[in-house]
């Protein structure tokens, strides 16, 4: 603080001296006096200490490398790092606004305790000791009164500091309820699809998957389909920057988007699809490709599960032993560790059903037919390929055009370009936020598999880095956390059932050896898992340990099935990222105590929090793994500044659980205290050795001072790896994929098994209905429409709402960054000029949107970029609403919150994805909401405050 004040004083003094000198000079004749005067000694010897630091942005999930300049420890400038492989020095407004966020007068620097009523803004500063004591006491009280399920956690999306610390915290204390405004709605479906269908990464564009399109070193890709990916808005400096290079290289782009995005504007073919008609479009592509034999038959035959005959009752691929009990699988592991099943196919050579063991294609005893039906054990069974064919058979170009509202010729041009070139589909998050999430992601991945666009140059679905090569049959566990090792729960795909059981038993034994009843501990863990709300109907929520939203809200409102007493909110502002805000507002009132941790107070703090714990902005945050990798580079995330008593969120959660254990009377009073350390740490000193090892340095603390010297870079020729599945591994067979069949699974067997028993999450236990019922989830891309769609005649709500990202903001962040707000003070409602004219609405005028669930406002932005009948809007909230200058302070989430109209009562069956877009609305002219700032000068209270304690010490240190 002293430094900062002296800098400010110095500046004022210098300016004052200069102005004094200038005014003096004005009255003098220069010739009469010497021009040079004796220097002020203090001024002459003073100066600022200029430093330059390397770190990476955390404004979104792209992690762009940056240089940060400080003057006497104060960050004054951020610029892009020209050595960023793809960013090449580019930065976006989100990154640049960090200077406004870290020095924002709204950046809370000390723990705060509410002293008035919720829904007000009266707080008192307390110490960290007091804060942790209070949090620990309240969590312990809830645990003692109601058991551990009474503590609920709130997680955030990719703009927060990650989800690992939330998940391990839940596991440590055994608290099943965690909700995320993203999660089921954002990336979880893609994460599952990548693992379930190919045992690896997925086709999500913009992040660190799907990077072959940016391969400028050995360019092979000819075309890429950007399906619902608004790259320029969500990843302007990284993915969009790389996309620009990609287009320069001549890669053609097909953009599927109802909105005329920046990507659409530069596309070779734009399919301006009816919003949420994507499944129909995908099926049209499937049909065209299959009917015109544009698929890769050899790949489908030998490297996908399309030729496997499917049991019509169980919907699972039939294994050879089910038909021929004495069958000896030549590819089976004699040690019964690795699983390489043989299935049943219809063999074109013998014109009969035959066992289909796993071999190299040239060694295969069968010539499997991909699309057929055959009798097995007295029942007619279809192949996986046939099931997909029947799902798409009716989707001729004409029908697809009729349903998607894109003309048939354009669709044909697009699908032909895609199918006949080295290409792939890169997807955006859009369909995750709808009821269609599973069908969309399964469909896009399966199309690439159908066309053999897997693990070869020029396609999207590739695995990268040397680690992607295998020496044994590839396996995968759904997350990096040791559930199987610790609790003996979960199935490692690629291992046999017996091996999975052995591992489960070994975990139980390890507990027994420690004097704890291992079986009881395992059951306690499984009971906690299955108590996750909504997981009984949407079992894939276990992938990210999430809960379906509506059952949680109802649990709060009715107090059942169990009491939730403490809310530990670790994300920004749930009120503007989820539907049903008013209901949540009531629901959260039933909470006895609410803890909110964030760098800035939000609507959530205003409405609900009783205790606010300040976490660090990214210029204050140091890490080695959390959001540090971009493309082929991993950066040391350096703490450039540190204000007040802000805290690393990974340390915070650990300290909180420590305190909870202390108040409960011991570490053994929670489910598994040490599970916390699979991702978090108590102090920086505790984790430094691990980070040092990761970066190959002796001393992290010393090395990070010159973080620019320690960027880990994977050489490009090592980054791009292809044909891993063909490597012969130690069993003499090709490595294949880390899936159940060791092949790509466009017929998503895992989805079927997940619906039946919750597989693979709770093995050796099953999650079925009350009477042991199975649920049946779609295994192939199947036609579905949103429950509210544009095909309906709806006079009351004649418009259809889609949403999209904007370049100025990420999730709920940055609304208190004054320059971003100056650029975009309120949300735009993009509307076609013909609709606007009919409604008497001019560009920039306020409009009100309403759905069957709620209403909101925004400013009309007239554009031909949306078709008539469609409106597009992005989420928003107003932190100025609880500024001290307001006559009637509010939480700022009711005025222009698009999600007040959204719905979570109908969700995707597999993933519980709710509809944050894709529903009917009405539009009328309206007025500006009271208290909302729109003019640049109004944002003055948000301008950076340099009169703070800068570069303070971390709060928690190793004992």
């Amino acid at each position: 603080m002293g430094d900062m004040k002296s800098v400010a004083l110095w500046r004022r003094k210098s300016l004052s001296k200069l102005s004094h000198a200038a005014s003096g000079l004005a009255g003098l004749e220069l010739a009469e006096k010497p021009a040079l005067v004796e220097a002020d000694e203090e001024f002459a010897t003073s100066g600022v200490k200029l430093e330059k630091h390397h770190t990476c942005c955390h404004g979104c999930y792209n992690n762009c490398p940056v240089w940060v300049y400080t003057e006497d420890g104060v960050a004054v400038k951020i610029e892009g790092d020209y050595d960023g492989t793809l960013t090449k020095g580019a930065l976006c407004t989100k990154a640049l606004n960090q200077l406004h966020l870290v020095y924002s007068p709204r950046h809370i620097l000390h723990p705060m305790k509410r002293i008035g009523v919720r829904g007000g803004n009266e707080w008192e500063t307390i110490s960290w000791d007091e804060a942790l004591n209070l949090a620990g006491e309240q969590m312990a009280l809830a645990t003692k009164k109601y058991g551990p399920y009474s503590i609920m956690v709130g997680a955030g999306g990719g703009g927060t500091y990650g989800n690992v610390f939330q998940r391990v915290t839940q596991d440590a204390i055994g608290a099943p309820v965690c909700i995320s405004g993203g999660g089921c709605q954002c990336y979880l479906p893609a994460d599952c699809a990548g693992q379930w269908m190919r045992g690896g990464s997925n086709n999500r564009h913009e992040g660190n998957n799907a990077r072959e399109m940016w391969n400028a070193w050995n360019p092979a890709m000819e075309c890429v389909v950007l399906w619902g990916a608004q790259t320029s808005a969500s990843g302007a400096a990284y993915a969009a920057r790389a996309n620009a290079d990609m287009r320069e290289r001549g890669v053609k782009t097909i953009v599927v988007d109802p909105y005329f995005t920046e990507e659409a504007a530069k596309a070779d073919i734009w399919l301006p699809i009816r919003p949420m008609a994507d499944i129909a479009m995908l099926l049209g592509w499937f049909r065209y490709i299959i009917a015109n034999k544009l698929y890769d038959e050899q790949f489908c035959k030998y490297w996908t599960n399309y030729p496997f005959l499917i049991d019509p009752d169980t919907r699972l691929p039939i294994k050879a032993e089910e038909v021929w009990p004495d069958y000896v699988n030549p590819s089976a592991d004699p040690n019964d560790v690795y699983d390489t099943p043989a299935y049943v196919c219809f063999d074109a050579r013998t014109n009969s059903i035959q066992p289909f063991p796993y071999t190299l294609p040239e060694n295969s005893p069968v010539d499997p037919v991909v699309f057929c039906e055959a009798e097995v054990n007295g029942r007619m069974c279809k192949t996986g390929g046939q099931i997909q064919w029947e799902a798409c058979q009716e989707w001729t170009l004409e029908k697809t055009a009729e349903v998607t509202w894109v003309d048939a010729d354009t669709i044909e041009r697009a699908v032909r370009l895609y199918a006949t070139t080295l290409s792939g589909i890169g997807t955006g998050q859009f369909a995750d936020m709808s009821e269609l999430s599973s069908n969309f992601i399964f469909g896009t991945m399966a199309l690439d598999m159908l066309c053999g666009k897997v693990d070869k140059p020029g396609v999207v679905l590739t695995e990268q880095k040397p680690e992607s090569r295998h020496t044994t049959r590839p396996t995968h566990f759904w997350c990096g956390r040791p559930y199987q090792e610790t609790f003996g729960v979960g199935w490692t795909v690629g291992l046999t059932k017996n091996e999975n059981l052995r591992r489960s038993k070994a975990a139980v034994e390890r507990w027994n050896e420690k004097g704890v009843d291992g079986l009881a501990k395992q059951k306690e863990f499984v009971a906690y898992q299955m108590a996750r709300l909504g997981s009984d109907h949407h079992k894939a929520v276990h992938q990210w340990q999430l809960n379906e939203l509506a059952p949680v809200r109802k649990a709060l409102l009715v107090g059942e099935p169990y009491k939730i007493s403490v809310r530990w909110e670790q994300s920004g502002n749930k009120y503007c990222v989820m539907s049903s805000g008013e209901e949540w507002n009531k629901a959260y009132s039933t909470i006895d105590f609410c803890i909110h941790q964030q760098p800035h107070m939000t609507s959530t703090t205003f409405e609900d929090a009783d205790l606010f714990l300040p976490t660090q902005e990214w210029l204050e945050f140091e890490h080695a793994t959390e959001m540090t990798t971009q493309f082929n580079q991993t950066y040391m995330r350096k703490q450039v500044v540190h204000l007040g008593e802000t805290i690393d969120p990974f340390i915070l959660v650990t300290q909180m659980v420590d305190k909870l254990c202390e108040k409960l009377g011991g570490d053994d009073k929670v489910l598994c205290r040490d599970f916390q350390f699979n991702g978090t740490y108590r102090t920086k000193e505790d984790i430094y050795p691990q980070w040092a090892e990761m970066f190959g340095v002796d001393d992290w603390a010393e090395a990070v001072k010159h973080s620019e010297d320690h960027t880990l870079t994977v050489p490009i020729d090592e980054l791009y790896q292809f044909y891993q599945y063909l490597d012969i591994v130690d069993d003499g067979l090709p490595a294949g994929f880390a899936t159940l069949s060791r092949k790509c699974e466009p017929y998503v067997t895992m989805a079927v098994m997940n619906g039946h028993t919750g597989f693979p999450y709770n093995f050796p236990y099953e999650q079925t209905g009350p009477q042991g019922e199975w649920l049946e989830y779609d295994a192939v891309c199947t036609y579905r429409e949103q429950s509210e769609n544009m095909l309906q005649d709806d006079k009351e709500y004649p418009f259809y709402l889609t949403t999209g990202r904007v370049a100025h903001y990420h999730h709920t962040t940055l609304r208190n960054a004054p320059y971003s707000r100056e650029l975009m003070p309120v949300p735009d409602v993009r509307i076609n000029p013909r609709d606007a004219k009919r409604l008497g609405i001019n560009h920039g005028e306020w409009v009100e949107l309403s759905s069957r669930r709620g209403k909101t406002r925004g400013r009309a932005y007239l554009t031909e970029g949306v078709r008539p009948g469609v409106v597009m809007m992005e989420r928003f909230y107003f932190p100025e609403s609880y500024d001290g200058s307001q006559k009637n302070p509010t939480g700022g989430w009711r005025q222009c919150n698009v999600n007040l109209m959204a719905r979570d009562d109908v969700v995707n069956p597999t993933f519980a994805s709710a509809s944050w877009r894709g529903y009917r609305v009405n539009v009328v002219k309206s007025e500006k909401p009271e208290g909302v700032w729109t003019e640049p000068e109004e944002f003055k209270p948000f301008m950076p405050d340099h009169n703070v304690e800068c570069n303070t010490q971390e709060v928690f240190h190793h004992a």
Binding site: V117, R118, K554, S589
Partner: protein, 209 residues
């Protein structure tokens, strides 16, 4: 503002944070008669629920005053109520000298609100809402005649048939914590380092034996 609107506002404030509701209800009941501020603070300190709250008595009282659930009455040195006319033309210092203490009295709207919230009425409503749970509720209340930990309640209920939950969005049965919280919200049970039957809860059980 009409009484109904004032009542709605008070109910809203009282339900804004569940852990304060019962404390507020009790202190409003205590302040049906005019009480000195200090006396109200002392009274609140005796509530088992207050032990676990991070807010001071003054803070809770201030919330109720702001919600117009309590009237804050200014008293002079002799304990007399200061009339508005007495304050006319006084300087800030003179006003400070005049006001020596405060008293509190529940407003009519607040009294009407807590009149709807008697333990008997809330337990009646709870039992009536789920006739199939009467035995379970009564069983838990009877158990709590002697203080019970959560684990003891959980263990006692473990051999009972699972009850269906009112949360129709989940197939999970009702957990003991839900039954306990419902009885707590109705005023039948209170947490006092263990679950205990309240006097009102005891009276209710007796009346319905």
């Amino acid at each position: 503002m009409a009484t109904e609107e004032r009542m709605a506002e008070i109910e809203k404030i009282m339900s804004r944070r569940r852990s304060l509701t019962e404390i507020m209800r009790k202190i409003l009941g205590f302040c049906k008669e005019q009480r000195s501020f200090a006396c109200a603070e002392e009274e609140m300190a005796t509530y088992p629920e207050f032990k676990y709250i991070d807010q001071s008595q003054a803070s809770i009282i201030r919330i109720l005053v702001q919600a117009e659930a309590l009237d804050l009455i200014e008293l002079d040195a002799r304990g007399n109520v200061i009339a508005p006319s007495q304050k006319n033309s006084l300087s800030e210092d003179e006003l400070d000298d005049l006001i020596c203490s405060y008293a509190l009295k529940a407003t009519d709207a607040a009294i009407a609100v807590i009149g709807k919230m008697t333990t008997e009425k809330r337990l009646d409503a709870l039992f009536a809402a789920s006739p199939d749970r009467r035995e379970a509720y009564a069983g838990v209340m009877n158990l709590c005649r002697t203080p019970q930990s959560y684990e003891q309640i959980e263990s006692a209920l473990s051999n009972k048939a699972p009850l269906p939950s009112r949360n129709d969005l989940s197939d999970l049965p009702v957990y003991p914590s839900a039954l306990l919280a419902e009885l707590e919200n109705a005023g039948g049970l209170v947490w006092n380092d263990a679950w205990e039957l309240t006097d009102e809860g005891n009276a209710y059980l007796k009346a319905h034996e």
